[in-house]
Symmetry: C2
Subunit: 339 residues, 2 copies
Amino acid sequence: MNSGIPPGPPADRTPTWQGRAVLVTGGLGFIGSNLARRLCDLGAEVTVLDSLMPQYGGLRFNLEGYTDRLRINLSDLRDCSSLEVLLEGKEVIFNLAGQTSHLDSMHDPETDLAINVTAQLRLLETCRRAAPQARLIYASTRQLYGRPLQLPVDESHPIDPVDVNGINKLSAEMYHFLYAKVYDLSACVLRLTNTIGPRMRIRDARQTFVGIWVRQLLEGRPIEVWGGEQLRDFNDVEDVVDAMLLAAEQSDLPLVPYNLGSSEVISLADLARLMIALHGSGDLVITPYPEERKKIDIGDYYSCFDRFHAASGWQPQRSLAASLQRTLAYYGEHIAHYL
Amino acid sequence: MNSGIPPGPPADRTPTWQGRAVLVTGGLGFIGSNLARRLCDLGAEVTVLDSLMPQYGGLRFNLEGYTDRLRINLSDLRDCSSLEVLLEGKEVIFNLAGQTSHLDSMHDPETDLAINVTAQLRLLETCRRAAPQARLIYASTRQLYGRPLQLPVDESHPIDPVDVNGINKLSAEMYHFLYAKVYDLSACVLRLTNTIGPRMRIRDARQTFVGIWVRQLLEGRPIEVWGGEQLRDFNDVEDVVDAMLLAAEQSDLPLVPYNLGSSEVISLADLARLMIALHGSGDLVITPYPEERKKIDIGDYYSCFDRFHAASGWQPQRSLAASLQRTLAYYGEHIAHYL
């Protein structure tokens, strides 16, 4: 559905990351750690902030091999009295900290609110005082669209979240836009679709169901697919990292939300079959969608990312198969750290 | 702009309020107290919950003459451990508690968030456990539309709040819709425009600038008008009370937001002149819009209330002049309690 789009402007990587002071909130998590590693490789001075709350995706091992090249600050954005000091002098803040589980947000909505909204507001308030020149990149989610009325979903699609998490992520987005407009902060909001790759949480489905599938596959158990017909698109985490770097580098991007997404769309059952084929063995079991999740399920979903492509030149470079292959290889080697 | 609309369904007041257990959050405030008084007059068993926080609109005097006919519970929704007991057995919950000042929401966004979002989430969570059968009427605001792209503003207008208060009220609205859909709560969301009448706050402009104008007029000072060209619509508080009763009585209203509003639209300068004429004397001074408020000003605004009219039969019964007359008379008599 993104075929035939004209190429965007050339992605001139003129701004160098060498020596630039950046902060990655949630930097021990899945996307945050992949981003922090890339930034280190590009020569940036990286500070990582993470709460390492056990239910979330943060894991010290995610920065294995990089711990002497960056600074890790363990703290909770909610009560981080040192946030002001941590923000001072930062040129870019990659704001990835958050609670990602839709189901948890229904079981414990106040915690989702505290982490995804109150902490974000505190970060923005601190930012406008301590780092008013910084560029802020906020990792939002497709979840705030709710059940798609048409596909692919572009940014003009109505906003109608089906869970507390979607409502709270929308609030945090709106805070970013508001603070950018009222206080002249520089901000960019990316709405991520399903992201997969090394360092994602595989202990449970809190971050992505693909994580638990990887675990089932590698442990020789059948992949448990709920429903199976639902269509989804997936981005490789390295493509998401590319998008975040582009969003940071191009500070003149119009102040609107941008979908990420992929042109490769696949049903959940076919995704499981593809993973089994890539792994060389495995089974899947299709079970009915659990009642509790049905009410917050969004059905088919895939994104139109034309807006961000046109604005920044970004488009996914990694195929789904290549991404899954790389992911399976990573967990084949490192699974013990993720259980 | 609401002329020529067909009459809505007859507003059959078949459900009687006699003996019905109702809770009014923010019931010592402006609209809450007028609603609580009416409910008492209709024979309902009224419990009022209010925090009486000094910057807000709550005032014991607002229920003068009614204190032996209803129950007043002073507590803060945010840490009301007794909320469950207060909700038990209630048939209708009029949910009016909130922080209303746009400017305060920018100076102290976390307090606005705590009161307008966290407390609302706690109320809904408690409600689904302690009063799952209750009908919930939530007082939302036109503020979440932001600067109108076209006038009058109907419910299909894009949502683009210009301040923290607007973002937070939107969240609370969305929570109401979500809890109604997921947990089968019965809810109705009304988006109020400017409401005026007896018992509004006149000490400052935190609730409505008309309050401070009333005070300036009655104290013989010139009315200070910022700008003056901006168009607005106003509802008499009794019309808003009518709307809330209708919304409570008609539990089969579709689960969508409903604007209130008025067909009478007036510029702020003309409003000041009308107040002076009704009062028989007075002056106005037009000053430039304060810089601090300019960034969160919404320009011209008036609502289309066709949707709620068609669904419930509601339409405003009180003219702006009659409403101002009644308001000035009230404060002429009781101003000492409101300073």
